[in-house]
Protein backbone atom coordinates (compact mmCIF):
# COMPACT_ATOMS: atom_id res chain seq x y z
CA UNK A 1 0.00 0.00 0.00
CA UNK A 2 1.36 3.41 -0.87
CA UNK A 3 1.59 5.93 1.90
CA UNK A 4 3.65 9.02 2.36
CA UNK A 5 7.03 10.11 3.63
CA UNK A 6 8.15 13.54 4.76
CA UNK A 7 11.72 14.32 5.66
CA UNK A 8 12.39 18.01 5.98
CA UNK A 9 13.96 20.83 7.92
CA UNK A 10 11.68 23.31 9.65
CA UNK A 11 13.48 26.23 11.28
CA UNK A 12 15.96 24.40 13.55
CA UNK A 13 13.97 21.19 13.60
CA UNK A 14 14.33 17.97 11.66
CA UNK A 15 10.91 16.63 10.72
CA UNK A 16 10.52 12.97 9.86
CA UNK A 17 7.21 11.27 9.11
CA UNK A 18 6.63 7.95 7.40
CA UNK A 19 3.12 6.55 7.11
CA UNK A 20 1.38 3.73 5.29
CA UNK A 21 -2.13 4.41 4.10
CA UNK A 22 -4.64 4.31 6.92
CA UNK A 23 -6.00 5.96 10.03
CA UNK A 24 -3.74 6.84 12.97
CA UNK A 25 -4.81 7.93 16.44
CA UNK A 26 -2.47 9.71 18.82
CA UNK A 27 -1.60 8.37 22.25
CA UNK A 28 -3.60 9.77 25.15
CA UNK A 29 -1.18 12.29 26.65
CA UNK A 30 -1.35 16.08 26.49
CA UNK A 31 1.56 18.27 25.46
CA UNK A 32 3.38 15.81 23.20
CA UNK A 33 3.45 18.24 20.26
CA UNK A 34 0.46 17.13 18.19
CA UNK A 35 -0.83 20.60 17.38
CA UNK A 36 2.70 21.83 16.76
CA UNK A 37 3.24 18.98 14.30
CA UNK A 38 -0.07 19.78 12.59
CA UNK A 39 0.97 23.39 12.07
CA UNK A 40 4.50 22.51 10.94
CA UNK A 41 2.93 20.24 8.33
CA UNK A 42 0.95 23.19 6.96
CA UNK A 43 4.19 24.82 5.81
CA UNK A 44 6.05 21.71 4.75
CA UNK A 45 3.14 20.24 2.77
CA UNK A 46 2.55 23.56 1.05
CA UNK A 47 6.18 23.74 -0.09
CA UNK A 48 6.33 20.08 -1.10
CA UNK A 49 2.95 20.12 -2.90
CA UNK A 50 1.50 17.49 -0.59
CA UNK A 51 -2.28 17.71 -0.43
CA UNK A 52 -2.84 18.33 3.27
CA UNK A 53 -5.83 19.52 5.26
CA UNK A 54 -5.79 20.49 8.94
CA UNK A 55 -8.93 20.69 11.09
CA UNK A 56 -9.02 21.98 14.66
CA UNK A 57 -11.53 23.27 17.19
CA UNK A 58 -12.80 25.83 14.68
CA UNK A 59 -14.44 22.95 12.76
CA UNK A 60 -16.93 22.32 15.57
CA UNK A 61 -19.50 24.66 14.03
CA UNK A 62 -19.05 23.36 10.47
CA UNK A 63 -21.64 21.22 8.78
CA UNK A 64 -20.33 17.61 8.53
CA UNK A 65 -20.69 17.72 4.74
CA UNK A 66 -18.29 20.68 4.63
CA UNK A 67 -15.70 18.75 6.64
CA UNK A 68 -16.09 15.68 4.41
CA UNK A 69 -15.75 17.71 1.22
CA UNK A 70 -12.60 19.42 2.50
CA UNK A 71 -11.06 16.13 3.65
CA UNK A 72 -11.69 14.15 0.46
CA UNK A 73 -8.87 13.23 -1.93
CA UNK A 74 -5.97 14.42 0.21
CA UNK A 75 -2.57 12.89 0.83
CA UNK A 76 -2.83 13.67 4.52
CA UNK A 77 -5.61 14.91 6.79
CA UNK A 78 -5.04 15.94 10.41
CA UNK A 79 -8.04 16.10 12.76
CA UNK A 80 -6.90 18.01 15.85
CA UNK A 81 -9.25 18.60 18.83
CA UNK A 82 -11.37 15.86 17.26
CA UNK A 83 -13.40 15.19 20.41
CA UNK A 84 -15.25 18.41 19.63
CA UNK A 85 -16.54 17.58 16.14
CA UNK A 86 -15.39 14.32 14.54
CA UNK A 87 -17.94 11.52 14.18
CA UNK A 88 -17.85 8.03 12.71
CA UNK A 89 -20.24 9.20 9.99
CA UNK A 90 -17.81 11.91 8.87
CA UNK A 91 -14.95 9.42 8.74
CA UNK A 92 -17.05 6.91 6.82
CA UNK A 93 -17.83 9.47 4.13
CA UNK A 94 -14.24 10.55 3.45
CA UNK A 95 -13.05 9.14 0.13
CA UNK A 96 -9.72 9.03 -1.68
CA UNK A 97 -7.58 10.24 1.20
CA UNK A 98 -4.40 8.29 1.93
CA UNK A 99 -3.51 9.03 5.55
CA UNK A 100 -5.63 10.37 8.39
CA UNK A 101 -4.18 11.50 11.72
CA UNK A 102 -6.60 11.98 14.60
CA UNK A 103 -6.03 13.63 17.95
CA UNK A 104 -8.92 12.37 20.07
CA UNK A 105 -9.31 11.02 23.61
CA UNK A 106 -12.62 9.20 23.18
CA UNK A 107 -11.64 7.06 20.20
CA UNK A 108 -14.13 4.28 20.93
CA UNK A 109 -17.04 6.35 19.67
CA UNK A 110 -15.47 6.45 16.18
CA UNK A 111 -15.72 2.66 15.85
CA UNK A 112 -12.81 2.44 13.38
CA UNK A 113 -9.73 0.37 12.70
CA UNK A 114 -6.64 2.41 13.41
CA UNK A 115 -3.02 2.31 14.43
CA UNK A 116 -1.66 4.03 17.53
CA UNK A 117 0.93 6.70 17.03
CA UNK A 118 2.79 9.27 19.07
CA UNK A 119 4.68 12.47 18.40
CA UNK A 120 8.33 12.44 19.36
CA UNK A 121 9.41 16.02 19.98
CA UNK A 122 12.59 16.68 21.90
CA UNK A 123 13.23 20.28 20.93
CA UNK A 124 15.55 19.35 18.05
CA UNK A 125 13.55 16.84 16.03
CA UNK A 126 9.91 16.17 15.38
CA UNK A 127 8.81 12.73 14.25
CA UNK A 128 5.94 10.32 14.33
CA UNK A 129 6.26 6.91 15.91
CA UNK A 130 3.73 4.26 14.90
CA UNK A 131 3.07 1.30 17.21
Amino acid sequence: MSGMEIFSEYSNLTVNIKLDEGVYVFDGRSGTGKTFLAKVLLSICSIKKIKYRYFNNTAKDDDPSVIVAAANNKDLVFFDNADLYLTKDILKEIKGTKCILISIKDVLRLNIDYKDCDVQYNGKSLSLEVY
Binding site: S11, G28, R29, N56, N57, N81, D83, L84, K105, G123
Partner: protein, 150 residues
Protein backbone atom coordinates in the same frame (compact mmCIF):
# COMPACT_ATOMS: atom_id res chain seq x y z
CA UNK B 1 -14.14 25.82 48.40
CA UNK B 2 -13.18 22.62 46.58
CA UNK B 3 -12.61 21.40 43.06
CA UNK B 4 -15.93 19.92 41.97
CA UNK B 5 -15.55 17.23 39.30
CA UNK B 6 -18.69 16.26 37.43
CA UNK B 7 -18.93 13.11 35.31
CA UNK B 8 -21.09 14.58 32.55
CA UNK B 9 -22.66 17.80 31.36
CA UNK B 10 -26.02 16.63 32.64
CA UNK B 11 -24.69 16.66 36.21
CA UNK B 12 -23.64 20.31 36.03
CA UNK B 13 -26.08 22.75 37.66
CA UNK B 14 -27.89 24.92 35.14
CA UNK B 15 -26.55 28.04 36.85
CA UNK B 16 -22.95 27.16 35.89
CA UNK B 17 -21.53 28.16 32.50
CA UNK B 18 -19.93 25.21 30.69
CA UNK B 19 -16.95 25.61 28.36
CA UNK B 20 -16.21 22.78 25.91
CA UNK B 21 -13.77 24.56 23.60
CA UNK B 22 -10.91 25.16 26.01
CA UNK B 23 -8.51 26.35 23.31
CA UNK B 24 -10.73 29.19 22.15
CA UNK B 25 -11.71 30.20 25.68
CA UNK B 26 -8.10 30.21 26.87
CA UNK B 27 -6.81 32.23 23.93
CA UNK B 28 -9.57 34.76 24.48
CA UNK B 29 -9.95 35.01 28.22
CA UNK B 30 -7.11 33.47 30.24
CA UNK B 31 -3.83 35.15 31.16
CA UNK B 32 -0.74 33.41 32.44
CA UNK B 33 0.70 34.18 35.85
CA UNK B 34 4.47 33.68 36.10
CA UNK B 35 4.25 34.03 39.89
CA UNK B 36 1.80 31.17 40.29
CA UNK B 37 3.51 27.95 41.38
CA UNK B 38 0.49 25.92 40.24
CA UNK B 39 0.48 27.46 36.76
CA UNK B 40 4.25 26.99 36.41
CA UNK B 41 3.92 23.34 37.38
CA UNK B 42 1.10 22.76 34.88
CA UNK B 43 3.13 24.28 32.04
CA UNK B 44 6.33 22.55 33.13
CA UNK B 45 4.90 19.05 33.54
CA UNK B 46 2.60 18.99 30.51
CA UNK B 47 4.45 21.19 28.00
CA UNK B 48 7.99 21.25 29.41
CA UNK B 49 7.75 25.03 29.36
CA UNK B 50 8.24 28.02 31.64
CA UNK B 51 5.83 30.94 31.91
CA UNK B 52 7.68 34.23 31.53
CA UNK B 53 4.88 36.79 31.30
CA UNK B 54 1.09 36.94 31.34
CA UNK B 55 1.04 36.28 27.58
CA UNK B 56 4.21 34.29 26.85
CA UNK B 57 6.19 31.18 27.78
CA UNK B 58 9.39 29.41 26.73
CA UNK B 59 8.74 26.00 25.19
CA UNK B 60 10.98 23.00 24.71
CA UNK B 61 12.73 24.40 21.63
CA UNK B 62 14.64 27.18 23.33
CA UNK B 63 15.81 28.64 20.01
CA UNK B 64 12.21 29.67 19.25
CA UNK B 65 12.40 32.15 22.14
CA UNK B 66 9.26 33.25 23.92
CA UNK B 67 6.02 31.89 22.46
CA UNK B 68 2.56 33.37 22.62
CA UNK B 69 0.29 31.59 25.12
CA UNK B 70 -1.88 30.12 22.35
CA UNK B 71 0.99 27.69 21.57
CA UNK B 72 0.37 25.82 24.83
CA UNK B 73 -1.25 22.40 24.58
CA UNK B 74 -4.99 21.97 24.97
CA UNK B 75 -4.42 19.93 28.13
CA UNK B 76 -2.39 22.71 29.75
CA UNK B 77 -4.89 25.34 28.60
CA UNK B 78 -7.77 23.39 30.13
CA UNK B 79 -6.10 23.18 33.55
CA UNK B 80 -5.11 26.84 33.40
CA UNK B 81 -8.72 27.72 32.57
CA UNK B 82 -9.99 25.75 35.57
CA UNK B 83 -7.42 27.30 37.92
CA UNK B 84 -8.15 30.84 36.71
CA UNK B 85 -11.93 30.99 36.27
CA UNK B 86 -13.35 29.53 39.47
CA UNK B 87 -16.99 30.18 38.56
CA UNK B 88 -17.00 28.37 35.19
CA UNK B 89 -17.14 24.63 34.51
CA UNK B 90 -14.61 23.33 31.95
CA UNK B 91 -14.94 20.09 30.03
CA UNK B 92 -11.74 17.98 30.26
CA UNK B 93 -12.69 15.71 27.34
CA UNK B 94 -9.53 16.75 25.47
CA UNK B 95 -7.17 16.27 28.43
CA UNK B 96 -4.69 13.41 28.35
CA UNK B 97 -4.11 11.33 31.46
CA UNK B 98 -0.99 13.33 32.29
CA UNK B 99 -3.10 16.50 32.44
CA UNK B 100 -5.85 14.79 34.46
CA UNK B 101 -3.25 13.62 36.97
CA UNK B 102 -2.47 17.29 37.76
CA UNK B 103 -6.05 18.17 38.73
CA UNK B 104 -5.24 17.78 42.46
CA UNK B 105 -3.04 20.87 42.16
CA UNK B 106 -6.22 22.92 41.74
CA UNK B 107 -8.01 23.41 45.02
CA UNK B 108 -11.19 25.08 43.84
CA UNK B 109 -13.23 25.38 40.67
CA UNK B 110 -15.40 23.20 38.42
CA UNK B 111 -14.64 20.64 35.72
CA UNK B 112 -16.20 17.75 33.83
CA UNK B 113 -14.11 14.56 33.83
CA UNK B 114 -15.85 11.37 32.79
CA UNK B 115 -13.06 9.03 33.87
CA UNK B 116 -10.65 9.90 36.65
CA UNK B 117 -8.43 6.86 36.47
CA UNK B 118 -4.81 7.82 35.92
CA UNK B 119 -1.56 6.08 36.80
CA UNK B 120 -0.28 7.32 40.17
CA UNK B 121 3.02 6.26 41.71
CA UNK B 122 2.34 8.09 44.99
CA UNK B 123 -0.58 9.69 46.73
CA UNK B 124 -1.27 13.41 46.31
CA UNK B 125 -3.33 15.56 48.63
CA UNK B 126 -6.35 17.16 47.03
CA UNK B 127 -9.59 18.98 47.76
CA UNK B 128 -11.99 17.29 45.37
CA UNK B 129 -15.72 16.74 45.42
CA UNK B 130 -16.97 13.84 43.29
CA UNK B 131 -20.52 12.50 43.41
CA UNK B 132 -21.11 14.84 46.34
CA UNK B 133 -18.33 13.15 48.34
CA UNK B 134 -15.37 15.12 49.66
CA UNK B 135 -11.88 13.69 49.08
CA UNK B 136 -8.57 14.84 50.56
CA UNK B 137 -6.45 12.14 48.91
CA UNK B 138 -6.22 11.59 45.16
CA UNK B 139 -5.55 7.90 45.74
CA UNK B 140 -8.92 7.73 47.49
CA UNK B 141 -10.55 9.35 44.47
CA UNK B 142 -9.00 6.67 42.26
CA UNK B 143 -10.15 3.94 44.60
CA UNK B 144 -13.65 5.39 44.61
CA UNK B 145 -13.68 5.54 40.81
CA UNK B 146 -12.62 1.94 40.53
CA UNK B 147 -14.46 0.25 43.40
CA UNK B 148 -17.18 2.72 44.36
CA UNK B 149 -15.86 3.16 47.90
CA UNK B 150 -12.82 4.56 49.72
Amino acid sequence: MSLVLYKSMEEVPKSLQIVEDNDAFFDYATSLDPNSAVQQMIVDVIDQGTIISNQTFIGRTKEFGSLFKECLSTGAKTLLNISTHKDICFDCIECGYNAISLLPLIKDGYAIVEYLLVPLDRDISCDIIRDGKHFKSFMEVMRYERYGNF
